[in-house]
């Protein structure tokens, strides 16, 4: 009979969901509206006027399985959700600049060109030179007796100079201290500075040369006393 060979109505979609038991595990429970399916199933059975208990049992069993799955998922959702994954932003490694030498365009002229303007600002406040930073007195070694006898030494050296050269003539420092040891040469140099300060001699050094030139410029009178016979 045609009717007997026909598949029962509940094997048609969407009711088939409840009756393909082997597929139940694979379905997404949230996709299935159990109430809708069961209502449809009952209405169809009523329409056909034949109560199929076996089919009803299977439908109920499947429905409860799906319902159980939904419940399990809901419970799972109650667990603390995993921390939201930070938006993974790829930050590339630093690119080190290649090192290149580069001749600067700044020249001495540039430096001096701006100097003029800077110096104008200075007219408002004239420069104060830093005071020389001197060592504290206690660090200064005790004055050499030689320096205390400075006046005498000046006279002696001046007389010596006059013997070596006449007024206006040049004498080199190296010649003056030839044969003396270092400390004596230094002492002689200091006395020369005192003589120069008195205006008795002139000291002169060329920019590139190390040699010091001495000229006797004072008259042969030292502290109103002649240092040599006329």
């Amino acid at each position: 009979m045609v009717q007997k060979t026909k598949k029962p109505f509940y094997f048609q979609p969407p009711l088939s969901i409840l009756f393909e038991i082997h597929r139940l595990e694979k379905i997404m429970p949230w996709d299935v509206n159990i109430a809708y399916l069961l209502t449809m199933f009952l209405e169809e059975m009523e329409l056909q006027g034949k109560v199929d208990f076996r089919a009803s049992g299977v439908a109920l069993d499947s429905s409860s399985t799906i319902y159980l799955k939904k419940t399990k998922l809901l419970l799972k959702l109650e667990e603390p959700p995993p921390p939201p994954k930070a938006v993974s932003q790829f930050v590339p490694p630093p690119m080190f600049l290649p090192l290149r030498y580069e001749l600067s365009s700044t020249t001495l002229d540039n430096l001096l060109n701006v100097l003029d303007e800077v110096l104008r600002a200075e007219t408002i406040r004239p420069p104060r030179m830093p005071e020389p930073i001197l060592p504290t007195p206690e660090i200064i070694p005790p004055l050499d007796l030689y320096l205390l006898q400075i006046e005498d030494n000046m006279k002696t050296l001046f007389a010596q100079l006059r013997q070596l050269v006449g007024t206006g003539e040049l004498l080199t420092f190296s010649k003056l201290v030839a044969g003396l040891d270092k400390i004596e040469a230094v002492k002689t140099f200091i006395i020369l500075l005192f003589l120069a300060q008195r205006g008795k001699i002139g000291l002169w050094q060329e920019e590139e040369m190390e040699e010091l030139y001495i000229t006797v410029i004072g008259d042969p009178v030292f502290d109103d006393k002649r240092t040599e016979p006329i």
Binding site: V91, P92, P93, P94, L97, P98, E102, L103
Partner: protein, 200 residues
């Protein structure tokens, strides 16, 4: 001057060639940035691009054959640059008188280069608030440019940036080049210690 190649049979011509090589070397040394063929032609006193290209390639070859810390490279667009080989950078960078950038600002720069054009707010989000200082530094050095105002400020790298790294200034081409570079950097850094400097 003709566009003929220098003939090897003439000794005078060979001398001239050596002199022109020196002129190119001098230019590359002094400029400290990539120079194009036109500029190089100008320096060498030659009007033939073909000849200048050949000379420049000879210089590249010459430097690569020497045991030297300095290299001459050909960059995209027939441009040539003299620079220190990267192997030596770490050991001598403190001697450079140019203001150098430390790892922090350089990371910010890498990020901008890779994501440009990019909103400033986005850079600050990813690199942190301290990177405002980096942006100022990078802008001062003319490595990046900012466009727009306030929250809509957009950042890009400059032509100078592209030149400095020898990159293409077309954003898409540059990003392709950068990808390769970053891969190389990461590869070489896997066995090395992470950079010790972390200050700005």
């Amino acid at each position: 001057m003709t566009t003929n190649e220098p003939s090897q049979s003439e000794p005078e011509s060979n001398e001239k060639l050596l002199h022109q090589l020196c002129l190119l070397e001098a230019g590359l040394y002094v400029a400290g940035r990539p120079l194009d063929l036109k500029t190089l032609a100008n320096i060498s006193g030659s009007r033939s691009k073909k000849k200048v290209r050949k000379l420049a390639k000879m210089l590249v070859e010459d430097y690569s054959n020497r045991n030297s810390a300095i290299e001459i490279l050909e960059l995209e667009g027939e441009r040539f640059v003299m620079q220190l080989k990267a192997d030596f950078t770490g050991k001598v960078r403190k001697l450079s008188t140019r203001p150098l950038l430390s790892a922090g600002p350089l990371k910010t720069l890498s990020y901008i280069a890779f994501r440009q054009p990019i909103l400033q707010t986005q850079v600050i989000e990813v690199r942190g608030n301290h990177s405002y200082k980096h942006l100022k530094q990078l802008e001062d050095m003319e490595l990046i440019a900012r466009e727009g105002e306030g929250r809509r400020k957009v950042l890009k790298t400059t032509q100078f940036f592209a030149d400095f790294f020898g990159l293409n200034n077309d954003i898409r081409a540059m990003k392709r080049q950068l990808k390769t570079i970053f891969k190389d950097i990461e590869k070489t850094e896997t066995q090395e210690n992470p950079s010790e400097e972390n200050q700005n």
